[in-house]
Each structure stands twice: as structure tokens, then as C-alpha cells.
Amino acid sequence: MSTAATEALPSHPVISHENLLFDYPEGDVILRSRDSYEFRVLNTVHSSPILGEKVLISPTPQLKPTSSTITAESDVDSEHAANAFQVPVVQLPIDGAILFSLLTYIFPVPPVLPSFVRQVMELLSVAQMYKMDAVLTHIRNHIAQREPPFIREETAFLIYSLSQKHALRTEALKAARCTLSFSSLTIQNLAKEHKLNMMPGSYLHELWKYHQRVRFNLTMDLRDFKKSSALTVLRDSGCKSLTDSGLPDWLDSYISSIGTARVPAFLDLADFHTKLVEHIEHQRSNGGCASCLGMLGKKIRVIWDALTVVVHDSIEKVRVIHVVAPPQGPEHLYRLRHVFHFLLRKRGLKVDPSQLSLLHRSIQICPMQISSSGHPTLSISMSINRRWLLRHPFLGMCSLSPSPKMMHCPKRFPW
């Protein structure tokens, strides 16, 4: 926990979860939430470089009274009230409930984790946004102690979606792994569980790709596992139904089936036992399978341990790719100075860029087909998407110049 700011604290804060009250009588800054809750705290510069910067650039102390939260609900004396008139106020784009919770992880008070999944994810997102690494760890540790687990079957999809939204890679990976064990991830199943609109298609696509990668990895690793020394305890088995790999067929098929229908994040030992017992039962009519019967006990534990390690490691190797929204680059404004005629109503426009970024500084000509009116337009402005300028025919037809001097289009445009 980042408690640097709390060293040698003069006193304890007055806090109340119900009223979202967090007030340090000696606080030297007021943090104001999006929904206008105000929290007087000690300067939090040490816990977050970004938040610290915000405090530093905050306007000079405001001389108007702070919110009623502080003046009316806190038990402060007149001296404190006077201070409240002078400390800087920093407006933050965070809801009061989330900011309150965040402060409980920064200062030496009992941490308060929000009740709802969305709020917890927002809290993590805010801690990440303000680069509060120690606080983030503290919150994650707190979450890990929750019972039932924070990420479980009922919450995994939502948490995965919110993790992608807030770029919380750790939670995204954990939630994606959790979905492995209970979902075969088909559109049919998701529709049945009313989960189709739980996340944008791009997130769902990445989740599906993640499942695919895990499956592929598992197939490869289990194929190697079947040939590995981990199963030497079974070589020269006396089982009558051995496969080419030298393993009893029930074990071979059990291993091969892992990850085919659904990828289990955790293997079920009971399942494994059932397969073995079924095999023994099946062989009973042929005099039984003493070899496999002999596996019950230490041998089976050795195989099971080795198998679970392979599956676990195989899944661990696969990461979730954070989905980044497509860049919405600024539209650049170009001013068209003159219109000059090409043949047959085809016209080129000389462009004088009025707002040029470095990228566009070289492009001086923009063609455009406009009205066939005999009166040339004096000035037309149009916005041009930067990607458009790189497309045919502009890429090939426009002269590029490092100088901002106006240039003519060298060729006719193929319109």
C-alpha cells in the first residue's frame, strides 16, 4: 500500500461510508468528484505522480465555501472550517463513491471495496489511470481475499469486458481464464445465457481468439506430454488395450480429449478416476486389467500431478491481447484557394493547408470534383481524413513537397 503520504500524520480522518465523507481536518487539498462530493485530504502527491501534478497545477485556493458534505456533515471546528476556505480544490473525473473507496486504500483507514463489480473495476481503473501502483496492488490483494471469489462463473464475462474497456490486463487475463472452465464459447451458448450484448464484438473476438490459442497450445503440449518421460511409470504396461503411444487407451483418449470440447482451467480428478474405473469395469469380462487396477494409489497420483502441471502451464502461456479502439485521428482542415479546370468538368483544387501537422505538411494538392457551375468558387474548405490522403489516386498523383509552397497536380485524375 502506498502510505508515503500518511507518514507522521497529524491526526486521523473523519470518515463515513454512508455519507461518502472523508475529511482530514488538517487536509491541504480538496478533491472534488464528478458528482460534486468533496474530500479534504492530505496532499496525495506521493501516491500518484499524475494526481500530484493535478494538485500542483490546480487553481489558487478558492475563496468560496466548500460543499455541504464538509461543512455540514463533518465534525470540524471553526478553525478547520476556516482552512476549508483556503485549500486548493482539484476537480477529478471520478464518481464520489469510487474516489471515497480509493482514498481508503491510500490513507491508513480500513479499506472499503465497492459492492458492485462495475464499481470495483472502475476503482482499479482509476488507480491504474493515476499510476498508483502500490494502491493497485493493495486493492488487488484485497479483492483476492473475497469470498466468493471476485472472478467466478457468474462474473467472469462482465469482468472480462470491463477489463478490456479499462485496459486492466491482469483482470482481463484472469477473467478470460475463468471463462475457459465453464464455457465452450459458442454463439449458441452465449445467446442462451443472455451474454451476447455483454461486450462489444471486438472484445468477444479477442476472447474467442484466446480460447483458440489455449486450445492449440493444449493440443501441442499434451501431444508432447504423451511422449514425455512423465509417463514412464506406465511404459510396458500390461494393459491389453494399448494405443500406439504405449498408453492404455482410456488414458490416451482422456488426455486427447482435454481441450477439445471445452478447455478446463482446472482438471477434475473425479473425472479421471471415472474413466479409469470404467476401463477396469469394461475389462472385467476379459479377465480384468490388473495393470490399470494397480495404478490406483501412488501411480495415479504421479500421473495426475504431471498432467495438471502440463495443462496449467499450457494455459498460463497464453495471454489476452488488449483490444485497442481504432484511432480516431483529427480531421485536418485544408483551405482551397483556387479552382482550375481540367477537361470535362474535372477539376483540381490548389490547396493551402491552414492547419498542417507534420504528417501532412508535404501534401499540398487535393483534387476534388465539384459543381459544374461556370463560376469558380473562390474558396472552399473541406476536411480531409489523414488516411484518405494516402489512398489511391492521391498517393500516386499528388506531388509531395517538403516546403509549404503550393503545387499543381501533375496529372489528370482518373475520374
Binding site: G201, L204, H205, L333, C366, M368, Q369, I370, S379, S383
Partner: protein
């Protein structure tokens, strides 16, 4: 357009007013080319077409919309094959272009709705696009199933003409259908899996013909051949209607408009 808030243009008092629009230049260029008496420039790429339609819709240019739609339809510019089709649906959905959304959604009935088929097109799905597409396909499948069930009834449905085929099961049920017809129906009712394809009326007729031909060839069934000659056309027409109805259930967007 010109009623939009205008930025201050103090720096260039002699300049014409500047109207800032959110559309990109390619879209505006196409839009202007349709508005003025010059050769109209309809984009060739699906996304650009939908952006153009979206702009025309936004600025209430009904005639322009109709023109674009007619051109796009005449030149077959919007993808009707997989996976471009799913992408067109998703983009049209996000832009609220109901006709394009509905057409694309209908075309998807001819393709399985699986992650494999969607591929990268899944990335274009936003909001409730995937859910609404699934709901539409479920309704379509439900329609097919509910019409096919009475149709396949050997006692009262149109399928009773086939009762009497020598290959039909004999026993207590005197209204049994021949196995080839049962197979045809069985294939058509894939356990309400909306992710499966729904055959078009032409595909349905093809399947019927193949099943019948194979049956007649294998069993030398004069009964079924005679029924087909006498009543097959009418039967096929009914079968085609079932498919047409399933394909024509209200698509996403159309439902909201009460179409």
C-alpha cells in the same frame, strides 16, 4: 447543414463561412457529387457506401438516399457473401441504416452464425448487434419449425399425399410418411439451432428433388413418382412458402419500425 453552429472566423474576414461537418472528405465529396449535376461518385467500398448513406440520412436527403440505394443495388456494391456480409450488417446496425441492416441480416440466414464464420467481422459488432441478429435468426428458425410441423403431418397436412408409399412404415400408424420425406424434414429441423443455416426456397426445392430422385431410383417407387407428377408442383410451392416466410420474419430494425 447551414444551421449548424458556426465557428468564429475572425482571422479571415473576407473568407466564406466555414461549416464544420463530422463526415470525412470522401463522404462529403460523394455527397456533393450526387447533389450537383456532375457525374455522381458512389464509393466502391462497403464501409464508404454506408458512411455516405448515413450522411444522407443524417441530413434528411431522402432523394439522395434513394439514388444511392438504387445505384448500390444495381451495381451490387454491398457484399452479400461471407464474412463481408456480417461486416455490412454490423456497420449498418451501428449507423442505424435499417434497410441495409435488414437485407444483410436476411442474407446471413444462408450462412452459419459461428465465430469461425464471423472471423474479423465480429470486431465490427457493437451494442446489441449480435444479440439482435441472434434473436432474428431464432425467430426465423422458430417460424420455419412452426410451419413445417403441421406441413409434415401425414394425417392433415399437405404431406398426406405421400402417405401410401410402399416404403413407409407399416403398423398402427397408417399415416406414416416415406423415409425419404422424413429425412428431408429431419434435416430441415436442426433442433432450433439458430446458428445453422435456413435454406432458401430454391435450396429447399433442390433438396426435395434430390431426396425424391434418390428414392425413386433406389426403390423404383411408382407411387411417389406418380404423386410427384400429379401434385408435386403444388407441394413444392407450399414448401417454398415455408422457407420464404422464415426468411421474411421482421429483421433487426424492421421490428422497431413495425415493418
Amino acid at each position: 447543414v447551414f444551421s449548424l453552429p458556426q465557428p468564429q472566423n475572425d482571422a479571415l474576414p473576407e473568407a466564406l463561412p466555414v461549416v464544420n461537418l463530422s463526415e470525412d472528405a470522401e463522404t462529403l465529396n460523394s455527397l456533393i457529387s450526387i447533389l450537383y449535376p456532375v457525374a455522381p461518385e458512389i464509393p466502391l467500398h462497403g464501409d464508404d457506401i454506408l458512411s455516405l448513406l448515413s450522411a444522407a440520412t443524417k441530413y434528411d436527403m431522402d432523394a439522395v438516399q434513394s439514388f444511392i440505394r438504387a445505384e448500390v443495388s444495381r451495381r451490387g456494391l454491398l457484399s452479400s457473401s461471407c464474412p463481408g456480409l456480417f461486416h455490412v450488417y454490423a456497420v449498418a446496425y451501428s449507423k442505424g441504416l435499417v434497410p441495409e441492416m435488414a437485407t444483410a441480416a436476411r442474407h446471413t440466414l444462408g450462412h452459419p452464425l459461428t465465430f469461425e464464420r464471423l472471423g474479423n467481422a465480429l470486431r465490427s459488432f457493437k451494442g446489441g448487434a449480435l444479440r439482435d441478429l441472434a434473436d432474428f435468426r431464432l425467430r426465423s428458425m422458430g417460424n420455419l419449425f412452426s410451419n413445417l410441423k403441421p406441413f409434415s403431418d401425414g394425417l392433415q397436412g399437405p404431406s398426406k399425399i405421400w402417405v401410401g408409399c410402399p416404403t413407409a412404415k407399416v403398423g398402427n400408424n397408417t399415416h406414416s410418411l416415406p423415409p425419404w420425406l422424413e429425412f428431408l424434414y429431419w434435416v430441415l429441423i436442426p433442433a432450433h439451432r439458430f446458428t445453422e443455416t435456413i435454406p432458401t426456397s430454391a435450396q429447399l426445392r433442390d433438396r426435395y428433388m434430390k431426396c425424391l430422385q434418390s428414392h425413386v431410383k433406389e426403390k423404383d417407387c411408382n407411387f411417389c413418382m406418380k404423386v410427384h407428377l400429379l401434385e408435386g408442383e403444388k407441394y413444392c410451392e407450399n414448401l417454398r412458402d415455408i422457407s420464404t416466410q422464415a426468411w421474411n420474419v421482421p429483421a433487426p430494425g424492421e421490428r422497431d419500425l413495425g415493418l
